[in-house]
């Protein structure tokens, strides 16, 4: 047997797992890097706070001096960006498993588009009367409705990845057009708000949002983990998967459902941050290989890192301007992404 793995079994054999050594190493390193970035991010800003003070605050040993800046502003914002990034990354990972192609992501397949349409409609028509409170629900509802439509339209005695991608793209175009239409038709104030939402921003994050996002993730991330064997098997092709006993269509539906739930929630709280769902899984795969059970935590962390660092850059690079994080997610991730792709170039057979 290969020596790349560690076997974990209990005495009676009812519980057993196989872990890749390399994956564990990578996971631990990523956690370390994230912690460092987290502390660094909390320190910098329009008011610089020393990292030592930050650590003291986090350990509860602070004397109230930094309560406002860290506790009310930066901490919730950074945690939210980590959670949003994790959700988007996982959503993309699941979709790429369904479509069996590393270029799929929630924004390309139209899920984000559905959330945007609902969110912009809400901002344009309901926010004055109902306030901003219900925006996340509108967003998730929009994502759910559009995704259901995409799934239904792709159904023809089963859903094939190709059809799903195409119809998703058509829906993305349609929802994009509708969204544009609404923005164009509305007044400047709404248009500005809508535009910022479309770019993606975690500005003004509150603890309430953090808890909401956290509770959502607590439900869906374990669900995603539970699917790990399913995703591994589906990647071999529908025929092979069915031959191995996988109930392909049901599992596919489950994967789509979880992907939509994660993307919808992320977009609900942070707007249409693009590209994380595409980049994070890919970067994770280049680092950690193909075993899905490993990819789930690695993708989540990388996604979180991406959004978090994009937000830190966004709010400090052009001081005193506080720029939406979505501007930088592509900027930070893309060069990395292209480098990774370039390195893995293989001649086609």
């Amino acid at each position: 047997m290969t020596n790349r793995h560690i076997t974990v079994r209990n005495r009676s054999g009812t519980v057993s797992f196989l872990w890749e050594k390399r994956a564990i190493v990578i996971l631990l390193s990523l956690v370390a890097i994230t912690s460092v970035c987290f502390i660094a991010g909390l320190s910098i800003g329009s008011t610089m706070i020393s990292p030592v003070a930050v650590v003291k605050y986090l350990l509860g040993a602070d004397d109230g001096e930094h309560q406002f800046i860290i506790g009310t502003h930066r901490l919730p914002r950074m945690i939210l960006s980590l959670l949003v990034g994790a959700a988007l990354g996982l959503s993309g990972l699941l979709l790429q498993g369904i479509v069996r192609n590393p270029l799929a992501s929630p924004d390309i397949i139209g899920i984000t588009g559905g959330a945007s349409v609902a969110a912009i409609a809400y901002i344009a028509y309901f926010s004055e009367t109902a306030g901003i409170k219900w925006l996340p629900f509108a967003s998730i509802l929009g994502a759910a409705i559009v995704s259901t439509a995409i799934y239904a339209l792709s159904w023809n005695r089963g859903v094939t990845p190709y059809r799903l991608v195409l119809i998703g793209m058509g829906m993305a175009a349609a929802t994009g057009a509708l969204t544009m239409m609404m923005i164009v038709l509305s007044n400047t104030d709404v248009a500005a708000k809508a535009y910022i939402w479309m770019t993606g921003s975690v500005y003004g994050a509150t603890w309430g949002q953090v808890y909401a996002m956290l509770s959502w993730l607590v439900v869906f991330v374990p669900l995603a983990l539970l699917l790990n064997r399913v995703v591994n098997v589906q990647e071999l092709g529908d025929d092979v998967a069915a031959g191995l006993g996988a109930r392909v269509q049901w599992q596919r539906l489950g994967m789509i459902g979880i992907s939509v739930a994660l993307a919808g929630a992320a977009v609900a709280f942070a707007g249409a941050i693009g590209f994380v769902g595409l980049m994070a899984p890919h970067m994770a795969r280049k680092l950690a290989g193909r075993s899905y059970a490993v990819l789930v935590p690695v993708t989540a962390i990388i996604g979180g890192l991406l959004v978090c660092s994009a937000d830190v850059v966004a709010r400090t690079a052009f001081l005193p301007l506080d720029i939406p994080a979505g501007v930088f997610t592509a900027g930070i991730g893309a060069p990395f992404f292209i480098y990774l792709l370039f390195r893995s170039r293989k001649p086609s057979r």
Partner: protein
Amino acid sequence: MHELKTNQLTLSYGEKTVIRELNLQIPQGKITVFIGSNGCGKSTLLRSLARLLRPAEGAVILDGRELAKWSTKEVAKRLAVLPQGPVAPEGLTVFQLVKQGRYPHQNWLRQWSQEDERMVTKALEATRMLPYADRPVDSLSGGQRQRAWIAMVLAQGTDVLLLDEPTTYLDMTHQIEILDLLFELNEKERRTIVMVLHDLNLACRYAHHIVAVHDGTVYDQGKPEDVMTAEMVEAVFQLRCQVIKDPLFGTPLFIPHGKGRIIDEQRNAVSVSTG
């Protein structure tokens, strides 16, 4: 031992009926090969046996119960299928691929039991892929890749193996390699093997039971030496052949009529007459 047969099986693609009301019994513990011309439905038939295609009418019966009534996992513990031209995801290693074969025996808590480990090791040994276990599947040669997939199917630990054209696109050396491997498996472990093959001569050599699919039904079936005659080949393939006994194995060997260089008797030991 598991019994696999069909009952009045009708298969169609859209409007076109490919197989009509077929009653077929797959011999247990033997190698069965489906032969037939392109588009005759032999792959379709195999896929329906593997539960990859739903019958339009009739049924495939496994151990006395209709295939459609079994749960997918239960079927997977008894039947393993290797479709034509499978593609492994980029970067997947041989070990990771073969491991997947244990899917129907695992659940979320029990992902790597001792039995799993034993079966995977056995499968890798049987296919002589153990030295390649950590190599990505897509970096292997055609023959090695096919062996990796066969290892996966072996690890599934089923009595019945269904293979759709396992040797197409492989060169002669690798074809023999794969077929030898399957023959050994059948000899040592008495697994039932059903496969679709194009090469008539290889089919005759390795198969205990030949099924000639033609015109929506089975034209003839039985032992190759009984069933494979020049008349049958002409009827099923529209090809005139001369049949001789294979000098190494004694099984039927088909030599098609047609064009080609004729070497005279003095220069060649084997004389061939054309028609």
